[in-house]
């Protein structure tokens, strides 16, 4: 049956409409959970608030289990699901830039729009910086292109790279995630911060 758009069960436009509705829901939930606060997001790096880590890892595990079970029931063909291409160099460089920006600004791209939409000035500055980055990248594409396209590894999945079945890898990831939640909560006790 799925993916719906690839198998032309729904049109490309319906797909975009659904993405729009889901996006609004995502933004709403982010805001309601306090993710529009840069202090909460930066808290992950200082250890006093690890909600972000827990929420996003739980989301990833839920989606992973959902997809695997859907595939098991024949509801979705995982071979047709889009996997991001891996360009190793740009993934590492981009990861560093993103990480530094995350700690400095206290937002990731999605949550900065959440913060901006409820009128937070720092979030608006962050969004401004985001657009400056987009312009620098776009205008200077010729300079970065070689690095941007370097070390293309195809469309690998971690499970294939490790030689494990998707199911085994899922189980390992669940256990690792639960272990991380435990460490995160230990860190919250270890590095407490006054209420903000």
């Amino acid at each position: 049956m799925g993916p719906l758009a690839v198998n032309e069960i729904i049109s490309e436009n319906t797909n975009l409409l659904l993405a729009f509705i889901i996006g609004i829901g995502f933004g709403f939930v982010l805001e309601q959970s306090g993710f529009s606060s840069s202090r909460k997001l930066a808290g992950v790096f200082y250890g006093y608030d690890t909600v972000v880590l827990k929420v996003f890892f739980t989301a990833a595990i839920t989606a992973m289990l959902g997809l695997l079970f859907f595939s098991l029931f024949g509801w979705i063909d995982l071979d047709l699901v889009y996997v991001n291409p891996t360009y190793l160099t740009s993934a590492i460089v981009g990861g560093i830039i993103m990480g530094v920006g995350f700690i400095m600004g206290g937002y990731c791209p999605g949550t900065s729009f959440c913060g901006a939409s409820i009128g937070k000035i720092d979030a608006m500055v962050f969004v401004g910086g985001l657009f400056i980055g987009v312009i620098i990248f776009g205008a200077g594409y010729g300079i970065w292109e070689k690095m941007y396209m370097a070390k293309f590894l195809g469309f690998p999945k971690v499970s294939t790279a490790l030689g494990l079945s998707d199911g085994i890898f899922a189980l390992i990831l669940i256990i690792v995630a639960l272990g991380m939640f435990w460490v995160a909560e230990w860190a919250e006790k270890k590095f407490p911060k006054a209420e903000y």
């Binding site: 993916p3 079970f69 595939s71 071979d79 469309f155 899922a170 189980l171 639960l178 939640f181």
Partner: protein, 207 residues
């Protein structure tokens, strides 16, 4: 109970289940019957004897001829460089790497078109690509390449050019008026090394 324990109680059994079940059991056939019919109707799976002959003469490394007739028939006569995968053994595991790959252009042939085309349909329905069928099979191969018929004097230049090509190709491939020359000597007996099928490109979507 604390939320983390609750979460663990739910997630770990789910993870155990998903780790224990086999994957990809739900859809062994990649193409639906309708998709296959539509593709078969385009007849793009057929390659003409001229194209194959040209590739054999030029020793095109991407060409891989696959004889789907029985081993007896294969030993009696086969095209240069062909390997033998009898139709009955087509789906055995040892041949998967040969049939499901993206390096070679596999061309199935049988005496006529029927068996080779059936082999193409089966592999295509499994989602394999780069498999083709020799148009007309060996019978047509003999008629066109090994014993080409001289066109009548009133035929077009194109017909004559085709005839000339067939004639020279036929001679290069041991034709002329001799039927069933033994070609096995020139055929490498070992299978060419097969690169493991790489992951196919996914349908693009977006995040």
């Amino acid at each position: 109970m604390r939320p983390r324990s609750l979460l663990a109680l739910f997630l770990i059994p789910m993870g155990l289940i998903i780790a224990a079940v086999p994957q990809n059991t739900t859809r062994p056939y990649k193409l639906t019957a309708e998709e296959l019919l539509a593709e078969a109707n385009t007849r793009t799976q057929f390659v003409t004897p001229e194209v194959v002959a040209d590739m054999i003469i030029k020793k095109d490394p991407s060409l891989r001829l696959i004889d789907v007739r029985s081993q007896d028939e294969f030993e009696k006569y086969s095209l240069p460089g062909a390997i033998n995968i009898p139709y009955a053994d087509l789906l055995s595991d040892e041949h998967t790497d040969i049939l499901n790959q993206d390096v070679f252009m596999n061309v199935f042939y049988s005496n006529g078109t029927l068996t080779a085309n059936e082999a193409w349909m089966l592999t295509r329905q499994l989602g394999y690509e780069n498999n083709y069928v020799l148009e007309g099979g060996l019978n047509y191969w003999f008629d066109t390449i090994l014993n080409p018929e001289k066109p009548s004097d009133s035929s077009s230049d194109e017909e004559f050019a085709k005839y000339d090509f067939r004639k020279s190709a036929g001679m290069a491939l041991g034709g002329g008026n001799v039927i069933m020359p033994s070609q096995e000597q020139s055929a490498p007996s070992t299978k060419p090394a097969v690169k493991a099928a790489s992951k196919k490109k996914k349908a693009a979507g977006g995040c």
